[in-house]
Amino acid sequence: MSLDRPTPRLRLPIVIGAMIIALALQTTVLHAVSIGGVKPDLVLVVALCAGLIVGPGTGALIGACAGLLEGYAQGAHIGSLGLSRAAAAFLAGTVETHVMPDNVIVPMATVFLGSLAAHAIYFVVAPEFPIARPLRIGMTESLLNMLFTPPLYLALTRWGLTYRR
């Protein structure tokens, strides 16, 4: 890796807008694509994709925002959600890859693993785990998140991605 490689950045309004729209979608119409009552977590997908693009540090901050957003919307488990999302986005940011806007395989794999990690961390830090059968739900949600990754990732790289030397 060359030292003068331009640093990828995301436009903050685009990321925040994406998260708000994602949250609005998953609190309204996304139950239509649920499998066995499990629906995708688009806010987490945005956070993981953002983490993958901008790296672990900024990814952690974006992940924390995502978790807080979900927590506030849910009215509970703000800390657990914030911590788990921040950690998962941090981990997604540690994936050493060049950002290739047209390649969605790496983001899909990252989102799948990142979602599983977020679930695991949430399971550990939540004061009481509010769902039964966490493994089935975690796997299903991770798979759904993975399927929703290409459009969100491509949208983020298309409208939110900038480079700084």
Partner: protein, 274 residues
């Protein structure tokens, strides 16, 4: 490399610190029975998007419902159309049977009026019309096996149809009186004047050889005279006079006669087997 890792770690710690602080603030607010500022901001920001999405989703749902309704209605419409066609066909068959019944009753009544109570009148159904333009013929479903022979008279309650020309075991071909080669001894019913009724190959007939002093008028009924070897039964209606003209050269009158029988709609006939 190291400073970058450090920066990332600092950011991670900062993120976690923010989360912890905000979560603690939220918990304290909710414990005190107040709404936390963060939750309020998120709710206020989110609600317009939620409202838009929900109303859009409802519109889509309604549109999809309409599409499904249309599909259901279309299928039902197809089913009902098929049923209507089926019922129409049944009604047509029943109508046809009723008309046939009516015609046969009429024929039966007519048969009773024939000499010797029509004991030699054989009912036959038309099963074919002229195969070529050369002759005006029909084919009926009675033949030699039923006692039909050539030159027998064929008629309906409305009037004279023609004569049997060719006989096969089960069918017979009837030469219509409209054929150019057909000739029938005719009589004007009102005045008794006689003539020969010939076919014109068209829809009308011509009654020729009427004496020039004969009283023949438009509307006179022309019936069979009973003269001749084929049409021996008297008084069978042939048609009505449409107009009369005088042929100066041979000093006779010729009358145009419209046949009483509509040959285009002939379905059942009687064959006089004697």
């Amino acid at each position: 490399m190291f400073p970058r890792v450090d920066r990332n770690l600092v950011r991670l710690l900062l993120a976690l610190l923010i989360v912890v602080l905000l979560a603690a603030g939220h918990r304290r607010a909710t414990s005190a029975g107040e709404e936390s500022l963060g939750a309020t901001i998120v709710a206020v920001t989110l609600s317009p998007f939620q409202r838009t999405l929900v109303s859009s989703a409802r519109m889509l749902e309604n549109a999809w419902g309409i599409v499904r309704e249309i599909r259901t209605l279309y299928a039902e419409n197809q089913r009902l159309r098929a049923r209507v066609e089926q019922l129409e066909q049944r009604v047509n068959i029943l109508n046809e049977r009723a008309l046939e019944n009516q015609r046969l009753r009429e024929m039966l009544r007519f048969r009773e009026t024939l000499p010797r109570s029509g004991e030699n009148a054989l009912a036959a159904t038309v099963i074919g019309v002229k195969p070529t333009n050369a002759f005006n013929t029909i084919t009926v479903d009675r033949g030699a096996n039923d006692g039909v022979q050539a030159q027998q008279m064929v008629l309906t309650p409305r009037g004279l149809v023609g004569q049997v020309r060719v006989v096969t075991p089960n069918t017979a071909t009837v030469l219509l009186i409209t054929d150019l080669t057909s000739g029938v001894g005719g009589r004007v019913q009102r005045t008794g004047w006689r003539g020969v009724v010939r076919g014109t190959a068209g829809p009308l007939l011509e009654m020729t050889y009427i004496p020039k002093e004969a009283d023949v008028r438009r509307g006179d009924l022309v019936v069979t005279s009973g003269v001749g070897s084929i049409f021996q039964v008297k008084g069978i209606v042939i048609g009505k006079v449409e107009n009369v003209r005088l042929d100066e050269n041979i000093s006779v009158k010729t009358a145009t006669v419209r046949p009483a029988v509509d040959f285009r709609r002939l379905e059942e006939v009687l064959v006089l087997t004697q």
